[in-house]
Amino acid sequence: MKYDKAIFGIYPRSESLRVNIGRHERGKLEGSIREIIAEEKKKFYDFTRKNNVRIGGDPLFNWHDIYRPLFSLFSGLEQGELHRYKETNTFYRKPKITGTIEYVNDPLKHQKDEFATPVYLPSGNRIENFFMPSPKCFLADAENVKSNTRESLLSAYRTLLDSVKPKTTVFYEHYDLDESVMKDIASLGDSSTFIVVTPESNNVGKAFNKENEFKGIVSGNREDLEKNLLLSRESFIPFWNCKKTSIESKTQVNNLLDSIKSRHVDSNQFTICNTDFFDFLPRDIADRKVAFDGVA
């Protein structure tokens, strides 16, 4: 069966990039880390093109965790304590609210720090597939949240998106989706360009799509699939398991899409995707999963 592929979130660094970033951080790198990252990204884009990835965007090789770039884009934030990311052996720095959150650095203009927000500019100056942590998980994981924090965060997000004008924006929410977060995200701009992804569940009622239509809503819970397809303009199908090293097969994808077509939606335009970051996998396994069907 015919399908496209979408890759959301942080993609694993290669062994050599990992070593080079380590050297850079210790002040022992000969050469430019910017150029090294740019070269790694180029290889990644070549790889995704060859493997029929329609929505990929920046692999976020620069990101140490999902919140880190916001520290350089927004004021009113500091890096807080190290905190475990859910059930994994992965940690993130808690966003520590120190004042009113405001958008202060344009990621297109302020690229001096190689760990600033990365952007994918395949042609011209139009950013494709911009990636953002959802406001809900940001606020839930932040410390020192005040009564005005939510509003100032949403305002900063709006200004950022209005400034960079991405074609598509992916919002990653690592807690459940609910009416409140979907309304907050919809308020940030044109929701028909937004894809909302969660490894958890979608608890949004069906009535929601009367007000806002998203490009895609994807959750890791297969029971949400029918609801998600009804709420989305495009048919995103969670497929890759980023918590297992076994490689998915062509038979699996065909069976899955056949089943969806017969039970949920009669479409010939499916896009298989991940709901957790590929960054939870070794790079070699992530690459093999993306290339599982030998489309290249």
């Binding site: 694993p12 990992r18 304590e81 190290l82 475990r84 059930e87 076994s246 960054d279 996998l281 070699d284």
Partner: protein, 345 residues
């Protein structure tokens, strides 16, 4: 008078002569360099006067997961995955039945025993964490995988006990089960308790502790504490505390949930001491002895029994430089002495 015991928790940063070529050394070379580093750490532990030097900073181990996993049949390695920032670990994929092939800790344990007369404590990565940090491509359920790791760990503790008995040392062998992932699934407390208990099942004359850190799940963890057949809990607190002096709740906010521990003891049929994390391992800030004293005094105010207190850093100090680590540990010992003076009055 009750003496407050100071203890190391886990790993220290390795000297460059060891770390830069750790995986490239031959086994003989690695043993020689690791031994040299361990001897240096032991010397520094002696200098600061710590009571229990753990396993001398884990110089024979690269990383807590990988070290144990490499000695277990049934695990395959595909590459590194991120822990945090640009720090990565080699994550194994469980592809068949697990079986401990040979002892991962015997060489290190024997070396340390032969080079110090101080108390030692062997950290072993726990079954729940090993399960949680592995890809599971073999066992149907997570609890089955955790119990398989528990049986491998049980076999390893029996290996270490033989060495301990041969050494002629008095007192129990001290084993610390490291479970940093132990509280990450709120609905899996039973898997943690069952697998930890299975790890130590049938082994006597040992002092078993558990180390948990960097979690928002302490309230849930303390509920399962009475079911753990252990002697002590070595936990992280300083990371969530303020740097302000004082022994009031406002200054010592990181230690308030010790009340949950006291409540847990009330429902337990056995006492478990509290290894109190008083040094934050993720900052270069050197906690002054007075701050450490206040943290201990506040904890003692809640626990009301200094015999139930041991003093340690939050976690292993490997993310800090060696000098910073020993300055922190030195102040930990000094701060403990200050607290001891107050408590003894």
């Amino acid at each position: 008078m009750v003496k407050l015991i100071t203890q190391e928790i886990g790993s220290l940063r390795k000297p460059e002569y060891l770390s830069t070529r750790f995986h490239k050394f031959s086994e003989t070379e690695r043993s020689e360099k690791a031994g040299r580093a361990a001897r240096e750490m032991i010397g520094r532990f002696h200098d600061i006067g710590i009571d229990n030097l753990g396993i001398a900073g884990e110089m024979f181990r690269w990383e807590m997961y990988e070290h144990l996993a490499k000695y277990i049949d049934g695990i395959k390695f595909y590459g590194h995955v991120r822990s945090f920032d640009n720090r990565y670990y080699l994550k194994g994929s469980v592809v068949s039945e697990l079986n401990l092939r040979e002892s991962p800790h015997s060489e290190e344990f024997e070396f340390v025993l032969n080079n110090t007369t101080k108390d030692v404590k062997v950290p072993i990565t726990g079954p729940y964490t090993m399960m949680d940090w592995s890809f599971n491509d073999h066992y149907e359920k997570r609890d089955e995988l955790a119990m398989a790791f528990a049986r491998a760990i049980n076999a390893e503790i029996r290996n270490l006990k033989k060495i301990w008995q041969r050494s002629g040392r008095s007192g129990p062998l001290q084993i610390q089960i490291d479970e940093p992932a132990g509280t990450t699934h709120k609905n899996e407390a039973h898997i943690l308790t069952d697998s930890v208990n299975e790890s130590i099942k049938g082994i006597s004359d040992c002092e078993f502790t558990i180390h948990v850190c960097y979690t928002s799940g302490y309230p849930e963890f303390f509920k399962s504490v009475p079911d753990l057949r252990l002697h002590g809990l070595n936990l992280e607190f300083a990371n969530r505390d303020s740097d302000a002096p004082g022994i009031d709740e406002n200054s010592r906010k990181g230690y308030v949930f010790l009340k949950n521990y006291v409540e847990a003891l009330e429902t337990s049929d056995h006492k478990m001491f509290m290894g109190l994390g008083v040094v934050d391992v993720h900052r270069d800030f050197i906690e002054p002895p007075e701050l450490i004293r206040d943290r201990i005094l506040f904890a003692n105010k809640i626990i009301e029994d200094p015999a139930l207190l041991r003093i340690n850093p939050d976690c292993g100090l490997r993310t800090r430089s060696i000098d910073t680590s020993f300055r922190k540990l030195g102040n930990m010992v000094a701060g403990t002495r200050l607290a001891q003076e107050v408590i003894s009055k």
